[in-house]
């Protein structure tokens, strides 16, 4: 198995709803913490293939891989600020986006 240093998850937007989604391994999740993590080159290639196939199946649009690190609880945390924002919502409207539900459930 080819080694790689970086960890990745697969993200996209839901075709109908527009929501940011993450590939869970069995489908698309709204919560990035449920995302499947690619830890080696084969898994990374597999993620890319899933993105392409899911796009062709018109379930999502604009799939791409996001580099992550692992948080204290082992869940993925995007490296880039932009991608962290996509897991939350606009910082100027904490009542909107994914963060709204997280806040309501005191998870944030």
């Amino acid at each position: 198995m080819a080694r790689q240093d970086a960890l990745y998850i697969l993200t996209a937007n839901d075709l109908l709803e527009g929501d940011v989604v993450f590939w869970s391994g069995a489908g698309w999740a709204r919560d990035h913490r449920a995302a499947q993590i690619a830890r080696n080159a084969d898994e990374t290639t597999a993620l890319d293939a899933i993105g392409a196939a899911e796009k062709a199946a018109r379930r999502i649009i604009d799939p791409y891989r996001v580099e992550v690190t692992l948080g204290a609880d082992g869940t993925p945390v995007p490296v880039r600020f932009r991608e962290r924002l996509r897991t939350l919502g606009p910082t100027v409207r904490l009542d909107l986006g994914k963060q709204a539900a997280l806040r309501a459930n005191s998870l944030l």
């Binding site: 937007n13 075709l15 109908l16 709803e17 527009g18 929501d19 940011v20 796009k55 062709a56 018109r58 649009i61 604009d62 490296v79 880039r80 600020f81 932009r82 924002l85 996509r86 919502g89 606009p90 910082t91 100027v92 409207r93 909107l96 986006g97």
Partner: protein
């Protein structure tokens, strides 16, 4: 207000049903994502950072109460209760679902609006002076010209696939509130020595990666030659504009590379070869358009309303708002009121459903059914009787729309930035909010006087930072947000591109640096001298000390 003719109606309705079918075919598998994407973009539907975004065109920034109500309804029914007014006099919705978009476009079409040509390499929404038709110093209302250009540029077969997007702005005044010098083509209605009305035409201005001030190509173009001349300008651009590199594809690069003389020569050659009379709109259509922009029947009023003077005397907060947000109207006893969408600490340009509805009600009752959107992301009530201003102000105050800051340091332009925009390199709204809070004190703002801060979240410059008296550009440096300050920009008849102050700063340092820049200005200004005037007199280096202190 202009009303659609049968052709306009048909065209917009047809487009809605086409798009409805295209969405269905996409969902049904007959159109791939690659095939569908350009179709959705042609109808103003983008994918942004968190969701779909729909950009709706507001032709030359003019809205009726009914249209504003529909914009509010859409925000309430399909979005999250607000919309964002942009620097291109458009409105954007941030949280739409694809399945709803055909219905939204239908609601827009029913009030003669659409999202066509708000994306892509075509001629975009024509923008205009928000004080059109009411400004005291106007040669002529530029909106009939803007409407003519809207019709001419809508689905123009030859210009639907330009090298790059194309923006045209029109003004009828010497005081330029439409920023014509930073548009691909800028048009000013002028009167020549013989007393005839025509156009001064500018070309090759723009912001973005390579900011440039437009060059004058014609000092006086007879009115009837407008469409033919623009057709010649567009044709030369279409032929010679670069298509090999999207960063070099705007007309400003062509004009810059071949020089204005050579570009003008090619245009004049093309213009001479064109059958101008075949391209010109027919006289009947021009009369039909102009009729919609006839000045309304104004009440005969004294130049100054006694009721206004009394209200000002009794209510200092109102008097303050009038002195800052209200401008001179061409009709005696009337006024132009700017409604600031920049409450202290707010999101520049955002308006809630309730605010939009109230603006619609006020427009209907007090502003002859008219509203305007400005490139500063504010709303204008252009036709208010002076003796109604107090009532209007009280209504506005009830929904947080009475901020007295038009043109002041807290009237900040900000693009959506990384909070919403998928192209962004940094956030811009939080920086605007922090500056707004820092300078919240009304007395201090007044003391500082006119000072335009403009913030963009990336080099595309939707926040017009190049022409901010103080411009701020958000970048990403080593994974962190970093802000680049420019000074001395100006979008008006004295157009200038701002000059870089120094290396990138954090958001906090940016706010502190602005505070110091203001301090330098206050210490060194002459009586009555504005920030940008002091900057021009003192020179760039004088302001560098403000930056050094940040390091």
């Amino acid at each position: 207000m202009y009303r659609y003719d049968e052709f306009d109606h048909q065209f917009v309705q047809d487009r809605v049903s086409q798009f409805r079918t295209q969405v269905e075919r996409h969902l049904g598998g007959q159109l791939t994502e690659e095939e569908f994407r350009p179709l959705r973009l042609m109808n103003g539907l983008y994918l942004q950072l968190h969701a779909y975004m729909l950009r709706v065109a507001i032709p030359y920034g003019t809205l009726s109460a009914r249209q504003m109500r529909t914009l509010a309804d859409i925000a309430e029914t399909y979005d999250r209760g607000y919309g964002h007014f942009t620097t291109r006099q458009n409105i954007q919705y941030n949280w739409l679902r694809l399945r709803d978009v055909p219905d939204i476009l239908q609601e827009l079409a029913d009030v003669e609006m659409h999202a066509i040509q708000t994306s892509g390499n075509c001629i975009r929404n024509i923008t205009a002076d928000p004080f059109s038709g009411v400004a005291a110093d106007e040669v002529e209302d530029p909106r009939p010209t803007a409407e003519l250009l809207r019709q001419w540029s809508s689905l123009h077969p030859e210009f639907s696939f330009l090298p790059r997007k194309f923006k045209i702005a029109v003004t009828g005044c010497r005081d330029d509130r439409a920023a014509i010098a930073v548009h691909d083509i800028g048009i000013r209605v002028v009167r020549n020595e013989a007393g005839e009305i025509g156009y001064e035409v500018w070309v090759g201005g723009g912001q973005g990666r390579t900011p440039m001030i437009a060059k004058k190509i014609r000092a006086f173009l007879p009115k009837k030659a407008l469409l033919a001349y623009l057709e010649a300008m567009m044709r030369v651009y279409n032929l010679y504009g670069r298509r090999d590199n999207k960063y070099k594809a705007r007309i400003k690069i062509l004009v810059h590379e071949v020089g204005i003389e050579e570009y003008a020569r090619r245009v004049e050659e093309e213009f001479a070869a064109l059958d101008a009379s075949a391209i010109a709109a027919d006289a009947e259509e021009i009369v039909r358009i102009e009729a919609y922009f006839e000045p309304p029947a104004y009440d005969r009023l004294p130049a100054r309303a006694a009721a206004l003077e009394n209200a000002k005397k009794n209510d200092p907060a109102f008097a303050n708002w009038v002195s800052i947000n209200v401008g001179a109207h061409k009709a005696p006893g009337y006024a132009i009121a700017t409604v600031s969408l920049k409450p202290i600490g707010g999101v520049p340009g955002d308006a809630t459903t309730d605010q939009m509805r109230l603006l619609a009600d006020i427009a209907e009752r007090f502003s002859l059914d008219e509203l305007r959107v400005t490139i500063e992301q504010n709303i204008v009530l252009p036709q208010v009787r002076q003796d109604d201003l107090y009532a209007v102000w009280k209504l506005l105050a009830a929904v947080d729309l009475a901020t007295a800051n038009a043109g002041l340091i807290t009237d900040i332009i900000s693009c959506p930035g990384l909070d919403y925009c998928s192209l962004a390199t940094a956030r811009s709204i939080p920086v605007a909010q922090a500056i707004s809070r820092r300078f919240a004190d009304a007395e201090r703002q007044r003391l500082i006087g006119p000072l335009a801060i403009k913030i963009s979240g990336c080099i595309n410059a939707c926040g017009h930072h190049h022409v901010g008296h103080i411009g701020i550009l958000g970048l990403e440096k080593g994974g962190e947000e970093s802000y680049q300050i420019t000074l001395g920009g100006d979008p008006t008849e004295n157009a200038a591109i701002g000059e870089r102050l120094g290396p990138g700063l954090t958001a906090d340092q940016t706010v502190d640096t602005i505070e110091r820049l203001v301090a330098v200005y206050l210490a060194k200004r002459k009586p009555g001298e504005t920030f940008v005037a002091a900057y021009r007199r003192l020179g760039h280096d004088h302001f560098k000390e403000a930056l050094n202190a940040a390091a």
